[in-house]
Subunit: 330 residues, 2 copies
């Protein structure tokens, strides 16, 4: 890793090492292609299918890569994490596999499916109020009380290197050139890790941070040249997995260096992309997980005549919302 | 291939040759696993995810393997196939890739999505009445008129060898032992090909033919020791892909030799399995495609303490039916 006083940025070698650590537990998710989707964008569109990852989202990659590096003598005190859902499940399941106790701090309004699954992996769930309480403080207090290791959702080089293994797989699976990559961004752990891996193999490819309109803090931070938070009053979005307060210090720095820019997509564009993934890929994608695919299919980013990879980051969506999307869009 | 006056049964070498023929076009579909599904069956349950195959079903494997072997001088007259849907799409897309004209004979009541997709692959679709017309006769007449090659849906050694590549992949992807395989059966092309591949690597594994209750002609034929047709008055089932008149001559002979038996599942068991595949695997499975998974999850076959592979054979399901399944089952 290269380091400065403030920042530790993972290298492609850190991502390769992470890939070896997770190889026996993580799914090597397929890169899917549909002639129908190619026709819609007028180019070649490949989809990295992270809903097929263990726990239904990419988060397992970074969680396992981090937990497996916790020293033996610190393991008995367990881990603590705060998350609206997918990081929670990733940490809980990685902890279960490694035999560590896990406490997960989740918002009271997280999708019931994600809360239930987190408990299903054997974790203790502590609920908090997203609007009146600070999850970082709650997580830090629990870590302090129990001597547990706090596992950050994105702003940690081990997490970023772990998520980057999805990008490394893309470079290994791709048969030909690559012009652009679309990646959903909440805190930016996935996109920054993917960008490091993609740029190592395809220095000229453009990597875009895809966010819900109104919660496009990475895009606005990149445009402003400084970390800019999301407005708490930005209104509702169905992309529950992409609602951070702001990009992380690490992920923003990597983004400044490697991202081509940010793209914002509407809920309607996201719903339409979820329906297309159902219809053409037979893949269940959750709203936030479809932000990159939505940017491609809706024309927010021109993909004509190009080879584009859209990372679909997760598939943990409540059945009733998914049924509504199918009824409304198809 | 080993042959008798009546029957040509593909060998594992034919399946290996088919795998080489289709390698550059077919998806090597993943073998998925979920701790939640393992818990339900009390054993290890792996799912071969053929909905992720090109055209959304395993049928592309056999279709491409067959069409690519048509001699150059016969190609210009094209191919003709009869199918309720997935074979139609497989043949149409394989023909499109190979530049052959294709005519597909489909029942008027086939799912609209399957008819639309078949046309989308560039095929000419001829509709017939399932209750008053004979699709074999229509297909044979068109083949005769145009000099086109008739591509049978299952009772052909090239088709069976092609479908068997799904089984070959299972044996390559599996890390450990294998006790039993559950495979949906319509005409039996997939299950017979899979059985040949599985038995070559795991001679002691049991392969079960999974059918809709009331349309379990393979199971009843195996029990009777002779081909027994489905009763036209058996009532409705949502498994539109699994409604043959009877098993094929080839597929029944292979089944007699290699299947452990037949299992029948109800529509409710199928719907529940589709919901679990959505929830735990993020995979869209059509009713017929879920017959094997349904047998495992509902306990029709005891999977406790065993390693079981359920082949999910396709995902071409109309959105409204899928939305209903989610609302009713979850």
């Amino acid at each position: 890793m290269t380091s400065s006083p403030e920042l530790i940025v993972p290298t492609i070698d850190d991502i390769r090492a992470a890939a070896e650590r997770i190889a026996s537990h993580a799914v090597r998710t397929p890169l899917l292609e549909s002639p129908h989707l190619n026709e819609i964008v007028g180019g070649r569109l490949l989809v990295k299918a992270e809903p097929l990852q263990r726990t239904g989202a990419f988060k397992f990659r970074g969680a396992y890569n981090t937990l497996v590096q916790i020293p033996e003598n610190e393991r008995k005190n367990g881990v603590v994490a705060f998350s609206s859902g997918n990081h929670a499940q990733g940490v809980a399941h990685a902890a279960e596999l490694l035999g560590l106790p896990a406490v997960i701090v989740m918002p009271k309004d997280a999708p019931p499916l994600k809360v239930e699954n987190t408990r299903g992996y054997g974790a203790e769930v502590v609920l908090y109020d997203r609007y009146t309480e600070n999850r970082e403080e709650i997580g830090a207090r629990i870590a302090d009380e129990r001597g547990a290791t706090l596992v950050k959702p994105y702003d940690d080089p081990r997490i970023i290197a772990g998520q980057g293994t999805a990008g490394l797989e893309i470079t290994e699976q791709l048969d030909g050139n690559l012009d652009q990559v679309l990646c959903p961004v909440g805190g930016g752990g996935l996109a920054s890790g993917v960008a490091i891996a993609i740029k190592a193999a395809y220095p000229d490819a453009s990597v875009y941070a895809c966010e819900p309109a109104g919660y496009d803090s990475m895009g606005r931070s990149l445009a402003a040249g400084a970390i800019t938070g999301n407005d708490a009053g930005a209104g509702a979005t169905i992309c529950d997995a992409l609602l951070p307060k702001s990009p992380g210090n690490f992920t923003f720095a990597i983004g400044q260096d490697l991202f081509a820019g940010g793209l914002a997509v509407t809920d309607d564009q996201v719903r339409s992309a979820m329906a297309q993934a159902f219809l053409r890929l037979k893949l269940v994608v959750e709203p936030g997980g479809a932000a990159g695919l939505a940017a491609a299919l809706s024309g927010v980013l021109d993909c004509s005549g190009k080879t584009t990879v859209a990372v679909c980051s997760g598939g943990n969506v409540d059945p009733s919302l998914f049924a509504d999307v199918l009824r409304d869009c198809l």
